[in-house]
């Protein structure tokens, strides 16, 4: 079974700083997807960024980028020029690429606070 571990329960940075959230996972599969979800106080789950395991290039979405290290099974999220609206819980998630098995496995989450 796959597992996802986020070792930072809470993080806090000043507005405009850069922050990196850590995530490690365990799987025996070669093809899979990795995700970062944002959950603001509204509880809505918002997809921030995704990475396909077969792609060596790290995914980027505006101020959000990942550092995907497949051999180390590491998938960190970097938020540049952090904004107050980035304050939220952030969840790392894994999905196998096997046909028909579109199930997400989530980490425990990191509570990120951006201070003015």
């Amino acid at each position: 079974a796959q597992t996802v571990t986020q070792s930072q329960p809470e993080m806090s940075v000043q507005e405009a700083e850069t922050v990196t959230l850590s995530c490690t996972y365990d799987t025996s599969e070669n093809n899979y997807y990795l995700f970062w979800y944002k959950q603001p106080p509204s509880r809505q789950m918002i997809l921030v960024i995704r990475q396909e395991a077969y792609k060596q290039q790290n995914a980027t979405e505006n101020r959000f980028s990942v550092n995907f290290q497949k051999a180390a099974k590491s998938f960190s999220l970097k938020i540049s020029d952090s904004q107050l609206g980035d304050t939220a819980m952030y969840f790392c998630a894994f999905m196998t690429a096997l046909q028909g098995a579109q199930k997400l496995v989530f980490g425990q989450g990191t509570r990120l606070t951006i201070n003015p």
Partner: protein, 115 residues
């Protein structure tokens, strides 16, 4: 499109009561999912469905039942509610074909408290 809708938003149950959490999507997605999120934790999969009439267990199915009679609806039934089922419940849907990935869209969640 309304996306994924869930009712109710909040509910308090007494131990032993039963209830059904409703979930509907209007995106013609074939896959639907139920997750629960305990306080301070990530989401865990309860049940999922790959199409009308087909359901399967996820990681934490005990104490729950599901049915999928239409593409649009995927209700979650709690029988004999227990305090351990106090959680926030999320429904999600996606369109999946073969091994290709498609984003899961989440509903707003239902906060359930069992006292």
């Amino acid at each position: 499109n309304a996306g994924v809708t869930q009712t109710p938003k909040f509910r308090i149950l007494k131990i032993g009561q039963s209830m059904t959490l409703q979930c509907a999507q209007d995106m013609n997605h074939n896959y639907m999912y139920w997750y629960r999120q305990d306080p301070g934790m990530g989401l865990k999969l309860i049940y999922y469905s790959v199409g009308a009439g087909i359901t399967d267990k996820g990681e934490v199915p005990n104490g729950y039942n599901v049915s999928r009679s239409t593409t649009e609806d995927f209700p979650l039934r709690l029988e004999l509610a227990a305090p351990s089922q106090t959680s926030v419940y999320f429904c999600a849907s996606s369109y999946s074909w073969g091994s290709s990935y498609n984003e899961q869209f989440f509903g707003p969640g239902t906060r359930l408290t069992v006292l």
